[in-house]
């Protein structure tokens, strides 16, 4: 029996680590998606932002973020208290003791799985503020976001705080990860303003087409793959028949919702614009994935497809509306992760009988309000102290030259010596 317990501990830990590695790969997806949807003169800088924010997120979450989100002993259900660095792992004796409270996976594997989630939330921000935000202001924001803002609301739900006690349900993070990231992005975009030339004085919209749609498509497929880890790993356990079936269900539903999102967004775009818009179809896939993330276990695959489809329709209308109110989001991150994240939270009670609309709305409002206010204050301080936007000339010449001094495709532009 001891050996069976040890083996299932090993299996669940292994499963958790592999799922975490899948989620880590989503960082590559965001990098490619964003590199594809910005102009070529801003490619190097957006890639640098993506790799640097990942590193900052991992470091800050290890130093303090994880301890805030999962405190050993919380002060109260609002305030987890602050402590630093990771603790030790489980002893064999505790594992083979069995029973309800016995650990069934390595606590360091839990840290690893959680740290790639905070990086995902931060990646959402980089796309929305692309092509005009100062690199170092962005990275300083990343320090606060991943070390404090994200872990606080994460504690309220997944760490066992007051949102969890209120019955708020969020399986893998439509709210805790996606809505949180999108809300921080929204606060930043409102203070940052639109890219120069995006909106005419008469309210007209001047599109700034992305430079590389193959990269954007590759990025979307990478995110789609990573999402199996994101949702599948969030089941937290695989080592018995019931849990293994649950994980399989989560995989099937996650895939179904993404497919539904593509179909719905593609048809919506075709009906509205008369053309098949690839970027909308890509956003539709992500919208389907975000929509199902709050509850990928209880729907049937048919219902999961429908939940994804509603996300796909929503995201197209949301992107058009954002442009109408002049919220300039080059990759559609606020629509995909924010607007559809809210839909995902509200869709939970449709299939999960333990969830209720009231507590879902409560959680949604708390996450939005906390993240928006906290982010807005941080962005505001950065704006006053060091500025958050590059100069008009730097924006025209491109972030690559202004911030990095190098271009992504130098052969096209520079003179040969």
């Amino acid at each position: 029996m001891d050996q069976v317990l040890e083996l299932s501990y090993a299996l669940d830990t292994f499963y958790f680590l592999i799922m975490g590695a899948f989620v880590m790969w989503m960082a590559a997806g965001f990098a490619m998606l964003e590199a594809g949807l910005v102009q070529s003169k801003n490619t190097t800088e957006i890639l640098l932002k993506n790799v640097a924010l990942f590193a900052v997120a991992c470091t800050m979450y290890m130093i303090m973020g994880y301890n805030i989100m999962y405190p050993g002993e919380a002060v109260n259900s609002w305030w987890p208290g602050i402590s630093f660095f990771l603790g030790g792992d489980n002893a064999t004796a505790d594992v083979i003791a069995g029973g309800e409270d016995a650990p069934y996976y390595s606590s360091l594997s839990d840290f690893f799985f959680q740290v790639v989630f905070v990086a995902t939330a931060m990646s959402i921000v980089s796309g929305a503020v692309a092509e005009r935000m100062k690199l170092w202001s962005f990275l300083i924001f990343a320090v606060v976001m991943t070390g404090f803002i994200y872990p606080m609301q994460g504690y309220w739900k997944w760490g066992g705080g007051f949102l969890d006690a209120a019955g708020f349900s969020d399986f893998a993070g439509s709210g805790v990860v996606h809505l949180c990231g999108a809300t921080a992005a929204l606060a930043g975009v409102l203070l940052l303003g639109a890219r120069k030339g995006k909106y005419g004085k008469d309210g007209s919209v001047h599109p700034i087409p992305g430079a590389n749609l193959p990269l954007a498509t590759l990025g979307t497929f990478i995110l789609w793959l990573g999402w199996f880890g994101f949702n599948g790993g969030s089941e937290l356990k695989v080592s018995n028949v019931e849990e293994a079936n649950a994980v399989a269900m989560v995989f099937v539903n996650t895939n179904a919702a993404a497919a539904g999102g593509v179909i719905a967004a593609l048809i919506t775009a075709k009906l509205l614009f008369g053309k098949a818009d690839l970027t909308m179809a890509l956003n539709g896939a992500l919208a389907g994935l975000v929509a199902i993330t709050a509850e990928p276990l209880t729907p049937t695959p048919g219902i999961a497809t429908l939940i994804g489809m509603v996300g796909g329709v929503l995201v197209v209308f949301s992107i058009i509306t954002m442009d109408k109110v002049k919220v300039d989001d080059p990759v559609g991150a606020i629509s995909v992760h924010g607007v559809v994240g809210m839909w995902g939270l509200l869709a939970v009670p449709l299939t999960n009988t333990e969830a209720a609309f009231g507590s879902q709305i409560y959680g949604l409002v708390v996450i939005f309000a906390w993240t928006f206010i906290a982010s807005f204050i941080v962005w505001m301080i950065l704006k006053m102290v060091m500025g958050i936007r590059v100069t008009e000339e730097e924006e025209y010449e491109g972030m690559d030259l202004a911030e990095c001094g190098m271009e992504a495709y130098p052969e096209f532009t520079s003179a040969k010596v």
Binding site: H206, P207, I208, P209, L272, K275, D277, M280, D323
Partner: protein
């Protein structure tokens, strides 16, 4: 000597090059260019918003030939590049004062 400059549709470049080879033209210079004429631009769509592309891609062809060849060259470019639709392009003819071959220093029609 004449310099014949033709702006043509990019997909017609191969036809024009073959036609010119057939009548014995020894060399041409080709540049990818953008511009507009009576064809104007066209509209494209990105994330639901339309925008006008003002300048269309064209190919600019430069051929320097002896004066007595120029009518033949013009005729042959016209025939090869003609689709009968708007946007086929234009041919400009200008006099050339001197031509020098860099390798040998030959000048005039000899250098063509």
């Amino acid at each position: 000597m004449k310099l014949i400059t033709a702006i043509i549709k990019p997909f017609k470049l191969d036809d024009v090059r073959e036609a010119l080879s057939e009548i014995g033209v020894q060399g041409i210079t080709v540049t990818e260019v953008k511009g507009f004429g009576r064809q104007k631009g066209h509209t494209e769509l990105y994330r639901g918003a339309e925008y006008v592309v003002d300048f269309l891609p064209k190919v600019k062809l430069e051929v320097a030939v002896d004066t007595d060849m120029s009518e033949k060259v013009i005729e042959s470019i016209r025939n090869a590049a003609n689709t009968g639709k708007i946007g086929d392009g234009k041919i400009f003819v200008s006099p050339v004062e001197e031509v020098i071959r860099i390798r040998t220093g030959e000048t005039g029609p000899e250098a063509l």
